[in-house]
């Protein structure tokens, strides 16, 4: 099946080309068929690779080279794919979840006039994302990395007639570019240090070179991590992620929850050899991760836009993943990427279904009581919420618990912070669930008469993802619960063994106790949320009525305003300065001055043209005499 590996990214690319070129000339049915079909084709090939890898018929790290891409001087890069457990796992998530979301989009976007354009972008995104995870060197990865950034921009600004949406798209793109610069610099530094950008060359030399140049290693890993903070929305570059919710909801599910934002985590796990050699960077990642997780969770507590809550939840969960990476638990990070892809895509698609039914309404204060009208959406949403809250045996429980176990291993304080984040997650997710689906309907009569369950093409992906959210955790059941942690074994060949600690040094009884504590706290939080939002029916305050700390948090700690005043405004001032002063006065002054001086000079000089022939003759003779004299003197 390795012979067909090139088709995995090629099929979505072909789909993009056909749909993009055909655009409005193709019937919608055909667009949907090509769009979904190409992803399904890739998914089937990926599945065969997955089976091959797990059964051992495909070697653990196969590099397939297709052609020389860049061949200049000492740079020798080929367009080649790396097929190993890690890339196949990511490919499975991308094409699997990607296919479900394509299917969902076919229903969700069916009334949109940009239907074909939407599918073209979506296919291009899947292509770029596959390039990102399949590349066997940093440059192919970077090409995909930029590709997904572009598609993210195009899809956030999909409804380009709205200026706010365009601004959100630009913000996302620019924030990503800041991170990309870090990635690029990291790549250059890798090339200078290792003389190569191929994963295999870099990682095999890493132990010796990183030991000799400790500081360079720190610099490389930190620069790559800056790239990851941009793409995966970590402090300080996280502010772009909540805004893109302007785009179509399936896009938020695919790009801003399940796949693209996990690219940073994938990149760090891919480079885990380097990171293991730089413990300092790991500590920074850990701190950034847990701070982001808690910070974003607090913002999520008071948001009223259904998608904003999910967006901050995504930032928070990504923080969790980085927290795991920072603890050196790479497989755990990937485990959470997988389960998160299932339940967060489910939640976003569920939210999309709700918005679809509410004719575009996104404010949860105007919802309520949707349980009876949208039964399938409700039940799948419940499953997603329970999964993210971490109630056994749903998917989120296993991955979250593994992260917490690793945190406890490092220090009980970190465990406490992790649990705190998990409780906040539980609280705002159940707040969202109760406000949306229980109680009585609070919207307008017009919206009420319009309420309907979504079509089968939208509910089917919901159901599939719900099933995955239930069983997804079983790929990593820890030993204490009678599992073998299949995922850890599966990913073992990719993870560096250098200096890695024994997995789960905790004793089984401790681990079990921790699980019991965190789970019971989660249940307690659910009960609190139930009392507040169902029994007492407390409503979030209307716009502008918040006060004190609630206002601070509702306005996202004014971080956007802070960035605006410390970065955007000074930059504007600088641009104004160079535009109005440097350019208009100095540069233009020089250019205009040259012209002016020629004009004035010629005005004076033209009087020497007297028109008198005898004058000219006289000057000519004088000139000839002067030339003669000069010749004589020489």
């Amino acid at each position: 099946m390795l012979d067909l590996a090139y088709l995995i990214p090629l099929l979505p690319l072909i789909g993009f080309a056909i749909i993009g070129l055909g655009n409005k000339k193709l019937p919608k049915f055909l667009v949907g068929l090509i769009g979904c079909g190409s992803i399904l084709g890739s998914f089937l090939i990926v599945l065969s690779l997955l089976i091959g890898i797990t059964s051992g018929s495909i070697p653990n790290a196969t590099t397939i080279s297709y052609f020389d891409w860049i061949n200049a001087g000492s740079i020798n890069l080929s367009m080649s794919f790396l097929i190993d457990p890690l890339s196949v796992m990511m490919m499975t998530i991308i094409t699997g979840v990607g296919f479900l979301i394509h299917l969902y989009s076919a229903g969700y976007m069916s009334h949109d006039e940009g239907f074909a354009r939407y599918f073209a972008y979506l296919n291009l995104f899947v292509f770029s994302m596959l390039m990102l995870v399949m590349g066997s060197n940093y440059v192919v990865m970077f090409a995909g990395w930029e590709g997904v950034g572009l598609c993210s921009y195009l899809l956030i600004g999909f409804w380009f007639k709205n200026t706010n949406y365009n601004n959100a798209a630009k913000k996302a793109f620019i924030m990503n570019r800041i991170g990309d610069l870090g990635f690029l610099l990291g790549m250059i530094l890798i090339f200078v240090t290792f003389g190569s950008l191929n994963f295999s060359d870099v990682f095999s030399q890493a132990p010796q070179i990183m030991k000799a140049n400790y500081e360079v290693g720190i610099a490389i890993t930190l620069l790559l991590f800056i790239g990851a903070t941009g793409k995966s929305a970590q402090i300080p570059l996280y502010t772009w992620l909540p805004d893109p919710m302007a785009g179509p909801t399936p896009v938020s599910a695919l790009i801003h929850a399940a796949t693209m934002v996990t690219a940073g985590i994938y990149m760090i796990v891919r480079s885990n050899v380097l990171y293991t050699m730089a413990p300092f960077t790991l500590d920074i990642i850990m701190v950034v991760g847990i701070v982001t997780a808690l910070f974003a969770a607090t913002i999520g507590l008071f948001q009223n836009d259904i998608k904003k809550v999910l967006a901050y939840s995504t930032v928070s969960q990504l923080g969790y993943m980085f927290f795991a990476l920072g603890l050196g638990a790479y497989t755990t990070g990937m485990f959470h990427v997988t389960t998160h892809a299932f339940f967060k895509a489910l939640l976003f698609l569920g939210a999309g279904s709700v918005i679809h039914a509410m004719s575009g309404e996104q404010d949860i204060r105007n919802m309520g009581g949707l349980r009876k009208k949208l039964p399938i959406t409700f039940w799948t949403f419940v499953i997603g919420t329970v999964a993210i809250a971490g109630i056994p045996p749903f998917a989120g429980f296993f991955s979250k618990d593994e992260i917490l176990a690793h945190a406890y291993e490092r220090s009980p304080l970190l465990w406490g912070l992790g649990v705190l984040g998990a409780l906040m997650t539980t609280f705002y997710m159940f707040r969202l669930l109760f406000l949306t689906f229980s109680g009585s309907f609070r919207g307008t009569e017009d919206q009420k008469s319009h309420l309907h369950e979504s079509p089968i093409s939208m509910t089917l992906p919901l159901m599939v993802l719900a099933v995955l959210s239930i069983i997804g955790g079983f790929i990593g059941v820890p030993e204490v619960l009678g599992g073998t942690n299949w995922l850890a074994n599966y990913l073992a060949p990719v993870i560096a063994t250098v200096g890695e600690k024994e997995v789960h040094a905790l004793s089984h009884s401790t681990e079990l106790t921790l699980m019991k504590i965190s789970t019971s706290l989660v249940f307690l939080t659910i009960i609190i949320a139930y009392i507040i939002y169902v029994s007492k029916k407390i409503m979030p305050l209307p716009e502008g009525k918040e006060s004190g700390i609630q206002k601070l948090i509702y306005n996202k700690y004014y971080i956007d305003e802070l960035y605006d005043s410390i970065i955007v405004k000074p930059l504007r001032l600088l641009s104004d300065f160079s535009g109005k002063i440097l350019d208009n006065t100095i540069v233009d002054g020089i250019v205009n001055g040259v012209g002016k001086s020629v004009e004035v000079g010629s005005k004076v000089l033209r009087y020497s043209q007297s028109g008198s022939i005898s004058n000219y003759l006289f000057i000519m003779v004088i000139g000839i005499i002067i030339m003669l004299v000069i010749n004589l003197i020489k």
Partner: protein, 105 residues
């Protein structure tokens, strides 16, 4: 004859220089365009005389060939010059060079 010429080359040079200077002074001082024309011819002929003298002195006929060319070209030039002069006279009623001051800024 040959010797006499060789010995008195200085005399020819002297004569030619005087003629040339008279021509230049004529151009600079006189205002009548016809006189200026004649001065130009004088300068040309001073050069011709010098060329002929050197041609004989070096026993090389190139100089004399050039003289013939110069005379032919000078004839053509004078023809055109006089034609222009006639037109100027018809238009301005004068051949004074100081009258012709129209070609200026």
């Amino acid at each position: 004859m040959q010797d006499l010429l060789t010995n008195s080359l200085n005399g020819y040079i002297f004569l030619a220089s005087i003629l040339f200077t008279i021509g230049i002074l004529g151009i600079l001082i006189r205002k009548n365009i016809i006189i200026i024309f004649m001065s130009i011819e004088l300068m040309l002929n001073a050069v011709n005389l010098l060329m002929t003298a050197f041609s004989v002195h070096h026993n090389n006929s190139d100089g004399q060939v050039f003289v013939l060319f110069i005379m032919a070209v000078a004839a053509a030039e004078v023809t055109i010059g006089l034609a222009i002069l006639v037109m100027i006279y018809r238009n301005t009623g004068s051949v004074n060079i100081d009258e012709l001051k129209k070609m200026k800024w």
